[in-house]
C-alpha cells in the first residue's frame, strides 16, 4: 500500500527521490514542495496523522547541513511514511510550515526552531519552546558542546540577587565514549569527549 503511495507521489511530484530506510517507506522531497506533498498524502492517500516533525544536523561542512524529517501515519492502513526535506544552505535556513495542515505541527516546529535554528515560514508563533526566550544558542547543532556555553538567565531580579548564570557543566573529562560512525580504529576508540582539550586541540591557557 505504501509502495503504491510512494509511486503515486513520485509520479505527481517529479523532484521526489527515494530515500534508503531500514523500516518504513521513505522519500526525499524538496523543501518548497513539502506542504503540497503532505496535503496530497493527507487528503488523497489517507495519511492523516502527523506523528512527528524533527530535524537532523549533518554537522558543519556537510551539504546539505540540515534535513527536516516528517513522519506520517495512516489511521486507516496503520502504516508509517517518512518524508525528508533537505534545508537550503545557510546559518538559519527557512522551510515552509505545515501548521495549516495539522495544528499539532505548531509545537513540533517550534521545537525544531529552538533546537536547530531552522525557521518555518508561515508559522503563527515561531518562538522558543524548551529553552527560555532569549537563549542565544541552538543546542542540538553539532558544534554546540554538550556542556553548554555560558548564557544569562531570564529573570533579571534573581540574577541581580544571586549572580547565577547558565554555566557550562563540569564534564571532568567525560563523557568517555566512542564516536559515531568512525571507521579509523584510532579515532573509533573511546576518547574523552571533554570539549576543553584533546590531542588535536590545544589546552586552554597552555603556553
Amino acid at each position: 500500500m505504501s509502495a503504491e503511495t510512494v509511486a503515486a507521489i513520485k509520479a505527481s511530484f517529479p523532484r521526489v527521490t527515494d530515500r534508503p530506510s531500514l523500516d518504513h517507506p521513505a522519500f526525499n522531497a524538496p523543501a518548497d514542495d513539502v506542504p503540497e506533498i503532505l496535503r496530497a498524502l493527507r487528503d488523497g492517500h489517507s495519511f492523516d496523522f502527523l506523528a512527528d516533525v524533527t530535524a537532523i544536523d549533518w554537522a558543519q561542512g556537510a551539504n546539505p547541513r540540515f534535513t527536516v524529517v516528517y513522519h506520517l501515519f495512516s489511521t486507516v492502513t496503520h502504516e508509517y511514511l517518512r518524508v525528508a526535506a533537505d534545508c537550503p544552505p545557510g546559518a538559519e535556513p527557512e522551510v515552509p510550515s505545515v501548521t495549516a495542515l495539522w495544528p499539532g505541527a505548531n509545537w513540533h516546529e517550534r521545537e525544531v526552531y529552538d533546537m536547530f535554528g531552522i525557521r518555518f515560514s508561515g508559522h503563527p508563533d515561531l518562538r522558543r519552546i524548551l529553552m527560555w526566550d532569549g537563549y542565544p544558542h541552538f543546542p542540538l547543532r553539532k558544534e554546540f558542546p554538550l556542556a553548554g556555553i555560558e548564557a544569562p538567565l531570564a529573570d533579571a531580579d534573581v540574577v541581580s540577587e544571586t549572580g547565577v548564570s547558565a554555566k557550562p557543566a563540569p564534564m571532568a573529562g567525560g563523557p568517555f565514549v566512542a564516536s559515531s560512525g568512525e571507521m579509523n580504529l584510532t579515532e573509533a576508540e573511546p576518547r574523552a569527549k571533554d570539549e576543553s582539550w584533546t590531542e588535536r586541540r590545544e589546552k586552554p591557557g597552555a603556553d
Binding site: 527560555w132 554538550l146 553548554g148 538567565l153 531570564a154 529573570d155 534573581v158 540574577v159 544571586t162 547558565a166
Partner: protein, 169 residues
C-alpha cells in the same frame, strides 16, 4: 526558682505546674517536630516524595504531613527532581518568599549535584542558587532515605541557637 536542668523536663514535686527549660530547647523542639514541607516536586523524585507522604511510609508521623504548596506557610523546601536553568529562577523566587526560619533538603542526585544530566540545560546542583541543609543521595532516594534526611534535619535544627534572636539587645 532557677534549675540547672537543660532538658525539657517536668517534675511536679519541684517545679509544680511549670515546666522549666532553655528557650533554645523549646523553640527547636517545636520547630523540628512540625516542619511543613514545601514540595518543590520537579521530576521523578517527586513521585518518591508522594510515596513518602502516602500511607506506607507516612511522613506525617514526623510532623511533616502538611504539604502546602504555598511558600508562605512552609518551613522546609524539599527540592526533588532536576533543576533546569529555566526553573532555577522560579525556584529562587519561591525560596525568597518563604518566611524565616527556613531550610532546604536537596533530594536526589539531580538536586544535589545535577545528577547524571551533565548538560547545557541543567543547574549542576541546587546549592548553586539556594543554600542547602541536607543532601540526599539516590536516584531516586528510597522513601526511607528521605525520612532519614528529615530526621537529620531535625537533629540539625535541635542544635541551632534559636534563642539568640529573642534575647539580643
Amino acid at each position: 526558682m532557677v534549675t540547672a536542668n537543660t532538658e525539657l523536663s517536668y517534675n511536679s514535686k519541684i517545679e509544680g505546674e511549670v515546666v522549666v527549660s532553655r528557650a533554645d530547647a523549646v523553640i527547636n523542639w517545636v520547630r523540628s517536630n512540625s516542619m511543613w514541607p514545601m514540595p518543590m516536586g520537579l521530576a521523578c523524585c517527586a513521585i518518591e516524595l508522594m510515596a513518602v507522604a502516602s500511607s506506607r511510609f507516612d511522613i506525617a508521623r514526623f510532623g511533616a504531613e502538611v504539604m502546602r504548596f504555598s511558600p508562605r506557610q512552609s518551613d522546609v523546601m524539599i527540592v526533588s527532581g532536576t533543576v533546569t536553568y529555566k526553573m532555577a529562577t522560579a525556584l529562587r523566587r519561591i525560596y525568597d518568599q518563604m518566611a524565616e526560619p527556613k531550610w532546604v533538603i536537596a533530594m536526589g542526585a539531580c538536586a544535589s549535584t545535577g545528577g547524571m544530566y551533565r548538560s547545557y540545560a541543567v543547574l549542576q546542583g541546587v546549592d548553586r542558587i539556594v543554600p542547602v541543609d541536607v543532601y540526599v543521595s539516590g536516584c531516586p532516594p528510597r522513601p526511607e532515605a528521605l525520612i532519614d534526611a528529615l530526621v537529620k534535619l531535625q537533629d540539625k535544627v535541635k542544635r541551632e541557637r534559636s534563642a539568640r534572636g529573642l534575647f539580643s539587645t
